[in-house]
């Protein structure tokens, strides 16, 4: 039972999407601007893409960011899965409300506060224990895990809530023990949620400027930190090129996932 949206609604929808995509389109167009004076169109040129790949600072920062993102996403997925299982399966236990609160809090506390808190903590820790001696990969990763555990847990928890509990009962009934039920039934069924959780955590980490700025030390700059330092006071043609590449990459990934999803649905309904 669906009725077609009215013309007014469709107009708003159109403007809404234009609003969302206009700046991105402009960014992509200007990434091909030959002129170093960014606002002035100086003809088409891919020169900034070439410059981008020669820029050691950006490449190093990108590598560091990817490493941090991969590590923190994996760690957050592991912890998030554990937390979601505890909340979804353990039933009522002491302090459950407190745990739920703790898990949800990083979702809503502003970045600047999380960043500041972790920095002060790391400083105090290094004075007391001598660790971390230097801030960089480890401290940023820890901060990013803290940030994204909640996101993963929420996604996985939602999936657990939708799981048909009779599937696990059937596995037990057919002779599987606790661990085998988890490995052969629960885990495969949670796999899509774990993948989206991991991807989200990866993106959050790759995207974070504020927390990384607080928790990094001298000499360790993530990609957003480098980008920010370049565009804080002005515009940077290389950043335009970088942004365009990133958008292209995300577009391809999303379109691929849509196509795969559509094919899977098509196969299902085709029977």
């Amino acid at each position: 039972m669906r009725q077609r949206p009215s013309l007014l609604l469709l107009t708003i929808l159109g403007y809404g999407y234009a609003f969302l995509y206009l700046p991105i389109a402009v960014l992509v167009i200007y990434s091909f601007n030959a002129s170093p004076r960014i606002a002035v169109w100086g003809g088409f040129s891919p020169r900034w893409y070439a410059a981008l790949f020669d820029d050691q600072q950006i490449i190093e920062a990108a590598m560091l960011s990817l490493k941090i993102a991969a590590f923190s996403a994996s760690m957050a997925t592991l912890l998030g899965l554990t937390a979601a299982l505890a909340l979804g399966r353990a039933g009522r236990f002491r302090g459950r409300a407190f745990f739920t609160f703790m898990l949800g809090a990083p979702l809503v506390v502003p970045d600047v506060i999380i960043g500041l808190a972790l920095l002060l903590f790391f400083v105090a820790l290094s004075r007391l224990l001598g660790w971390p001696a230097q801030r960089g990969f480890a401290t940023i990763s820890i901060a990013h895990v803290t940030l994204s555990v909640a996101y993963v847990a929420v996604i996985v928890r939602a999936r657990i809530g939708r799981l048909d509990s009779s599937l696990e009962e059937a596995a037990r009934d057919l002779g599987a023990t606790g661990w085998r039920v988890f490995r052969r039934v629960t885990l495969p069924l949670l796999a899509p949620a774990l993948l989206s959780g991991w991807l989200l955590a990866f993106t959050l980490s790759l995207d974070d400027l504020v927390i990384a700025s607080f928790t990094s030390g001298p000499g360790a700059s993530t990609l957003p930190m480098v980008i920010f330092s370049r565009v804080r006071l002005g515009l940077s043609p290389e950043v335009n090129a970088l942004a365009s590449l990133l958008i292209l990459f995300v577009m391809i990934a999303v379109i691929l996932s849509l196509v795969v999803g559509a094919r899977r649905r098509g196969r299902t309904s085709g029977s």
């Binding site: 009962e169 037990r172 009934d173 002779g175 023990t177 069924l189 796999a191 029977s271």
Partner: protein, 401 residues
């Protein structure tokens, strides 16, 4: 479903009904044999959830090769009882013995029992063949044997061509058969079925009931089935246990339950029934005469009763066990035994039969069921016609509530 050969070398191995020498008078009805060892023995089983009793002190014997139904409405405790047999719920007290062994504290994965879930619980990430192989892999069987047994099971349920499909690519009936095969391939001693037809549409049910019964006959595995559908229970079961509020109300064959319900609750739950209170006038050998004020007449039963005269009693008469015919308003014979006169208030045409609601002069309403034998028969009686309703002394049943 032609796969005789599969059966010969496969699934009917250790669980086939022990072919007794002919001449056993209890072959079809082992529950009537006082010497027979029950296959499943449930002893005073009880279970509460959050202090609310769900199963109360249930004792039950189930024999080898039966299709035994637990019949009841929602909240009657039938599903909980089934889940305790599977080991998915722990009873608070009581024992469960299967083939003489105490299974009460045995975890589900070690019980020789498998369950077909109401939702079928097919693993969505596995193909049909992988679903069926699941339990065999857990048994750590060698691969060739698994392959062979899966193929047999697929054959048994006529799904050999669907082995590589995923559950979401199957129809409801096919999914049910996969669920069945996944259980049977384990060669359980006991198969539990939780509302096996609930997920199927109506047209498919009847055929599936027949197929399920045929497969059961072949593999000889004892079935215990939960259902809320009395017709399904009657059609398939060797015996039925009627449950309500966690208690067993009556255990018996479908015929016993229908013809001799133990209480008015059962009589009402299984089929429709006319119920009237009466007073015993005389008990004479094989016959009982009861005065029923609501009918304005007397009812003769062709069986005696263990109650003294003047005792109150409840009479049940099934609507299909009465005759209805046109009568004159003046046709009020004095000797009104097993016969009343009334006016048709409502006619429900059902195709194979009509139900007449007859209002008596006492104000009572009688439901009478008449098969329609000819196309015109249904037209003979109309609204507001005066009719005579009568029945044979074998029709009414006395209930002691």
């Amino acid at each position: 479903m032609e796969q005789e050969p599969a059966m010969k070398n496969g699934l009917d191995g250790p669980n086939a009904p022990t072919t007794e020498p002919t001449g056993d008078p209890f072959l079809d009805r082992p529950w009537e044999n006082p010497q027979a060892e029950p296959f499943v023995r449930i002893e005073r089983l009880g279970k509460s959830f959050d202090g609310v009793p769900v199963v109360r002190d249930v004792s039950l014997d189930i024999h080898r090769g039966e299709i035994f139904s637990l019949l009841g409405g929602s909240g009657s405790g039938k599903t909980t009882l089934l889940r305790m047999l599977a080991g998915l719920e722990q009873p608070d007290h009581g024992r469960i013995l299967i083939a003489g062994q105490d299974m009460t504290r045995v975890p589900p994965h070690r019980r020789p029992v498998n369950m077909m879930f109401q939702s079928y619980a097919l693993f969505p990430h596995m193909s049909v063949a992988e679903n069926i192989a699941f339990g065999l892999i857990e048994e750590r069987l060698p691969r060739p044997e698994i392959r062979e047994r899966v193929a047999e099971a697929l054959d048994l349920v006529s799904l050999s061509d669907f082995a590589r499909r995923r559950p979401d690519q199957l129809s409801g009936g096919q999914r049910q058969r996969v669920a069945l095969a996944r259980c049977l391939v384990k060669r359980p001693k006991l198969l539990l079925l939780d509302e096996p037809m609930a997920a199927l549409d109506k047209t498919l049910r009847e055929r599936t009931q027949y197929e399920l019964a045929r497969i059961q006959e072949r593999v000889g595995i004892t079935f215990v089935m939960v259902t809320h559908d009395q017709q399904e229970a009657m059609a398939m079961s060797s015996r039925i246990a009627v449950m309500d509020e966690g208690r067993l109300l009556q255990v018996g064959t479908p015929q016993e339950i229908y013809e001799f319900p133990a209480s008015s609750a059962i009589a009402r739950f299984v089929g429709t029934v006319n119920l009237f209170d009466g007073r015993i006038l005389e008990v004479d050998g094989g016959c009982t005469l009861v005065d029923v004020p609501a009918l304005g007449s007397r009812v003769r039963l062709d069986h005696g009763i263990d109650l003294p005269q003047q005792n109150m009693i409840r009479i049940a008469i099934r609507p299909e066990k009465m005759q209805i015919e046109r009568a004159e308003a003046t046709d009020e014979t004095k000797d009104k035994v097993n016969r009343v006169v009334g006016v048709i208030e409502e006619i429900t045409y059902l195709g194979i039969a009509s139900t007449y609601h007859v209002r008596l002069s006492t104000g009572a309403l009688l439901r009478v069921h008449q098969p329609i034998r000819t196309r015109e028969a249904q037209l003979e009686l109309k609204w507001d016609d005066t009719v005579r309703v009568s029945w044979h002394p074998s029709a009414p049943v006395a209930l002691v509530d």
